[in-house]
Amino acid sequence: MVVLAVMVLGTFSIGFAKGGKDKDEGPITLRLLYFQWAPGNALAKTAAGYEAFTGGKVKAETELPGFNEWYAKWLSSIQAQEYVWDIIVIDSQWLGMAVDADSAVDLTSLIGNKPFVKQIPPTMKPYYMGDPTDSGKIWSVPLEADAELMIYRQDLFEDPANMKAFKAKYGYDLPSPPDTWYNVRDIAEFFYDPENEFYGYINKYGVPYDVITWDFNQVLWSFGGAFWDRETKTAEGYINSPIAVEAMEFYKSLSEFAPPGWQNAAFEETVQSMSQGLVAMAVEWSSFAPSITDPEHSKVHDKVGFAVPPRGPKAHYVSLGGQPMTISAYSPYQQEAADFIEWFYESEQIWTFAENHGHPAYMDVLSSQRFWDILPQNKALYEALPYVRDIWNIPVYNELLQASQELLNSAVTGSKPIKEALDELAAKSQSILDGFYK
């Protein structure tokens, strides 16, 4: 009994001694939030130098939880309107939610007229620095630029025997990299060999997070379609238009050449299918791709090539991802945070970021050979710049996303007829938009 009592009291007293919250003493600590991957580590490494720069007055600490935890932490802090971090790196689509909750600081005066803003590629600017409220304000600054890239087995594409056989079968030269989405289908069919466990094409068809929506969008746009109209806030007639149906039918036809289990494919499956040498082509975010060229993680590390995703019959668009930085409205250190961002955008820091496998949205870096030499996909990222496009950084982004993930997946797996799924998606999206904007 006595032993037990001692144990109990001992435990509780340790707990209480370790006690409550942190008391901030000494230098001001700016807290950054991103998630754990190569660009995240790059940010952390770069930010670590800030303390020396300010002579010990301000230091920058980066918190890098896992991907899902990053989202959950940020979202719950928004929902409870709490101060936890000073600079939050968010996924580009979340901007609407951040602004709507008044949780991101209006950066127009703090950052808007700084010289580095000129360096941001014009095609990316509307998305990374756009205003969900359409009033010309600036709420975010780009950090990581990301676009979907075509990753393909260059060794197989440029193998003379394959080239010969392909020309014989399809009547045109095997384009390396693929030029149009129709090329992709032909090439996928050509390489599809399930008996030898080699497949043609893998994409992120699955339901998790935002994968199928973003992967389908570039096909949709390249066919001349659109998800919605931003001006009129209309989805009805766009996502279920005949062009959209045609695009979905094409997208679905590509899945015939995908490895088994494709209905559920997300980042992991796509990257691993390529790394294990199971597919000839994959479309994946450039920032997720470093491991494909890493000999420790990939069997085909020296055999792949990177390119801009192909064009469609009507247009050429590439899905844009990436994460901008915002300053938390609840932070008492907003000016310090703005100073940090300005420091970060100095040439030296931006290059540190890039060399640690980050991808800054900074023209001087993106267009330089030095950047292209860091990672094989960097040049393709630069080449994709003219074609990038993003959607939905509005406050109801998440609701629209839940609907589109489920219904696009239902359409592509065939559990719902395409027209029916798209009609339903249009109706649901419309009611969500109406509910918010009307």
Binding site: A72, L75, S76, I78, Q79, A80, Q81, Y83, M97, D100, A101, D102, G206, V207, P208, Y209, P259, P260, G261, W262, Q263, N264, E269, Q272, S273, Q276, L278, A329, Y330, P395, V396, N398, E399, L401, Q402, E406, L407, N409, S410, T413, S415, K416
Partner: protein
């Protein structure tokens, strides 16, 4: 000397009534303190169109000093609209059916397995301690990890299970989580693996508590194995098993981590249970008002069902 001490103790001892309150109050106070506020908060919001990302909602405005920069919001009252929308949603019932399928299947299978294992293990053998402890290992893992790891094992391209089925039994590679019909089944497998040890433990605790002389008496009277089971074993272990089933059922209804880690409700939403949908609505979509209504409807449903369920189980016990 001894007598006086005893009398002193009895006089200074706590009375029955004081004991009752002293013992019961901390538990009740804790529950009230931490449950009441969320319940009232959600109840109030279920009648509004509030979305948590829009701003701070104060149940009792003025009670706490507001920090600068925090946007205050007074949500719009919408009466029973949220409740109506939830009940009329065409897919809600599909989700309830999916959840129901999952709960019934998993609890049933886990109970049977747990019972069987308990009977099996109700004997002495070498290494019993270690083997029993290791069999309990699955439920010690984090459910999130279990979900993710089973997803990895069931993957048709590189998962070990399909590989084994293929190599040793010649079966084709089954795309467990990629097809509507089998996705939920995949989750049931993972959940059963993880939680049948729970049922096993409680059944074992119940079975091993049965005094041996009862069996001996029955054997002397030449009772058959089945008689001993149905008249001695089962009735005496039933109380614990019943409680375990109740908790298992409630937890199965709330299933989230394993299912989310495996399929996130996919493909489409064929494997999406009610609590996954709730997660999407309440958290991801931030439809706070609507999801509070949804949560209350769910709560009422579960309360009603468990009432019936528990009364039935208690009656079975009295028998």
């Amino acid at each position: 000397m001894g007598e006086t001490t005893k009398r002193k103790k009895t006089r200074r001892g706590i009375t029955d009534k004081q004991l009752k309150y002293l013992f019961l109050m901390p538990c009740i106070v804790l529950l009230v303190f931490l449950i009441l506020y969320p319940l009232i908060w959600s109840a109030y919001l279920s009648f509004t169109d509030y979305r948590a990302v829009q701003g701070r909602f104060r149940l009792f405005p003025g009670l706490v000093k507001e920090k600068p920069g925090v946007k205050q919001i007074k949500p719009n009252a919408v009466g029973f609209k949220n409740y109506k929308d939830v009940l009329r949603d065409e897919y809600i019932w599909k989700h309830y059916r999916t959840t129901g399928k999952f709960v019934i299947f998993s609890v049933l299978v886990q109970s049977i397995i747990g019972l069987g294992l308990a009977l099996l293990f109700n004997r002495e053998f070498k290494g019993k301690g270690i083997i029993t402890t290791l069999i309990l290992a699955p439920m010690m893992l984090s459910p999130v990890v279990v979900g993710m790891f089973w997803r990895y094992m069931l993957e048709p391209n590189w998962g070990v299970i399909d590989y084994a089925l293929n190599t040793f039994f010649g079966l084709p590679r089954i795309e467990w989580l990629a097809h509507e019909k089998t996705a939920l089944f995949g989750i049931i497998i993972a959940d059963t693996w993880m939680w049948s040890p729970f049922m096993f433990l409680f059944c074992l605790a119940g079975v091993s508590a049965i005094p041996k002389y009862l069996y001996e008496a029955a054997e002397v009277n030449k009772a058959s194995g089945w008689f001993m089971f149905s008249h001695i074993t089962f009735p005496l272990m039933w109380p614990l098993m019943m409680i375990a089933m109740i908790f298992r059922t409630m937890d199965a209804f709330k299933l989230f981590d394993i299912g989310w880690g495996m399929t996130q409700g996919g493909p489409g939403f064929s494997s999406q249970t009610v609590s996954m949908l709730l997660y999407r609505d309440a958290f991801l979509s931030s439809k706070t008002g609507v999801s509070c209504a949804f949560a209350y409807i769910l709560l009422i449903l579960i309360v009603a069902l468990s009432n019936i369920y528990i009364k039935y189980l208690l009656k079975a016990r009295a028998r």
